[in-house]
């Protein structure tokens, strides 16, 4: 049996599908292989045969289950939030909401106090080493802040006590001759007069001493900071 171009073209689809009788298939092949016009069909039949050798992929595991879960009524599945014995629906009352929001507020206040801004927190900051470093730094900063506060307080008290000291000797030796009470004054009136004089007439020496002291203290205070 021999085939020609017309025959092949008439039955091309059957030939390419290899649906001819074996004898016909051989004859068609023999023609197609040697014919310049039909050679591409000889190769095309091979392409179809190679395609049959392509492996079919298995269904990925879980795909059918996922499709069914997506398309049928939702089935309750145990999840991370499903804590045994806790009904979240019941927990979602007004009281629970208020409690939760105040807890969150407290947490934010505490975080804010320790200088943590939630907007600036990055994933890397949550690494244990970074957390430790941040806590360490915070502890040192807090300690330094405390030391500074106590020192400042000490300076203030020192100034005050020095002032008190200065005011004491001012009144005794120099103010004594001036403090002769006018005749006819009662002891209470005398005391009142003494106090007025002390306020209105501080000695020039006392003022100089005061400024000297203040400058000294300010220098020391500045060095502390």
């Amino acid at each position: 049996m021999t085939w020609d171009c017309t025959q092949l073209e008439e039955r091309l689809t059957e030939y390419l599908d290899s649906r001819l009788a074996p004898a016909e298939l051989n004859a068609a092949d023999a023609h197609a292989r040697g014919c310049a016009r039909c050679a591409e069909w000889f190769d095309a039949r091979r392409a179809a045969l190679w395609l049959q050798k392509v492996e079919k992929l298995e269904t990925p595991p879980g795909l059918e289950t996922r499709i069914l879960a997506l398309t049928t009524a939702p089935r309750p599945k145990p999840s991370f939030w499903a804590v045994p014995g806790v009904n979240w629906r019941q927990a979602l009352t007004l009281r629970f909401a208020l409690g939760a929001s105040s807890a969150m507020l407290s947490l934010l206040l505490v975080l804010n106090f320790f200088g943590v801004s939630l907007g600036e927190v990055r994933l890397a900051d949550l690494h244990p080493a970074n957390l430790y470093r941040a806590a360490d730094r915070q502890a040192y900063q807090s300690y330094a802040w405390g030391v500074r506060f106590v020192n400042d307080l000490r300076v203030v008290y020192e100034i005050r006590s020095r002032l008190e000291e200065m005011q004491e000797p001012v009144e005794t030796p120099e103010a004594a001759p001036q403090s002769q009470p006018p005749a006819g004054q009662t002891p209470e009136q005398k005391k009142q007069t003494d106090q007025n004089q002390r306020r209105q007439n501080p000695s020039t020496q006392g003022v100089r001493q005061y400024w000297l002291m203040a400058a000294q203290l300010a220098g020391g205070w500045g060095a502390n900071r």
Binding site: L12, T13, L16, E40, W41, D43, A44, R45, R46, A47, A48, L49, W50, L51, Q52, K53, V54, E55, K56, L57, E58, T59, P60, L63, E64, R66, I67, L68, L70, T71, T72, A73
Partner: protein, 195 residues
């Protein structure tokens, strides 16, 4: 039970009938999606989407127009075209040359008939070659030679006359042959049994 009855039971709320449909057709639809995309994860997502769409539009299935499997192919093919247009290109990491090293060989290079391709390697090679075809020829060849639909069914899926389907498949196979000719032992695929 025929497809019409199965679908009727589904529409009546029979979950077992729907499960039956899903379990029967998932593998074929997944393979179809893979042939179009060349990516397993993408194919998986698209398969899910196909069944979601089928589930929503099950009322529009008419058994007089063909078996359920063909209708599923039609839905899947439409979705794949939408997907193709949305992504604008078929993304594939493996180029034809990468998966067909022998394509790089010079004409004069000695043939290597001793070389037997592993089945997986061969499948990847053919898949890469398929992606080189124009979309029109590719889908016709995939539906015929990989999904094994008959010409009438393909005409239904593609919504074109049967004659057009035949011509596209014949041309597609001839194009593919040009790309695959360097497979060792190409002329005699039936003799390759070691795969």
């Amino acid at each position: 039970m025929d497809d019409a009855q199965l679908v009727a039971r589904c529409l009546g709320g029979d979950a077992a009938a729907w499960e039956d449909i899903v379990r029967t057709h998932t593998r074929r639809i997944y393979n179809l999606c893979y042939r179009f995309t060349s990516r397993r994860e993408e194919a998986e997502d698209l398969t899910q989407e196909v069944f979601l769409r089928v589930f929503r539009t099950l009322t529009s299935y008419d058994s007089r127009q063909g078996p359920l499997g063909v209708w599923l192919h039609r839905v899947a093919r439409n979705l794949l075209i939408d997907h193709y247009r949305a992504t604008r290109k078929l993304k594939h990491d493996v180029s034809l040359e990468d998966s067909m090293p022998f394509l790089e060989e010079k004409e004069s290079a000695a043939p290597r008939p001793d070389r037997v391709l592993a089945r997986h390697e061969l499948s990847e090679t053919i898949q890469a070659a398929l992606l080189r075809l124009s979309p029109e020829l590719r889908e016709a060849v995939i539906l015929r030679d990989l999904q094994e639909l008959d010409y009438r069914e393909i005409a239904g899926v593609l919504d074109v006359p049967e004659g057009t389907v035949k011509s596209r498949i014949n041309r597609g196979r001839a194009e593919l042959a040009r790309l695959l000719k360097r497979i060792p032992g190409y002329e005699n695929p039936e003799a390759v049994t070691e795969l």
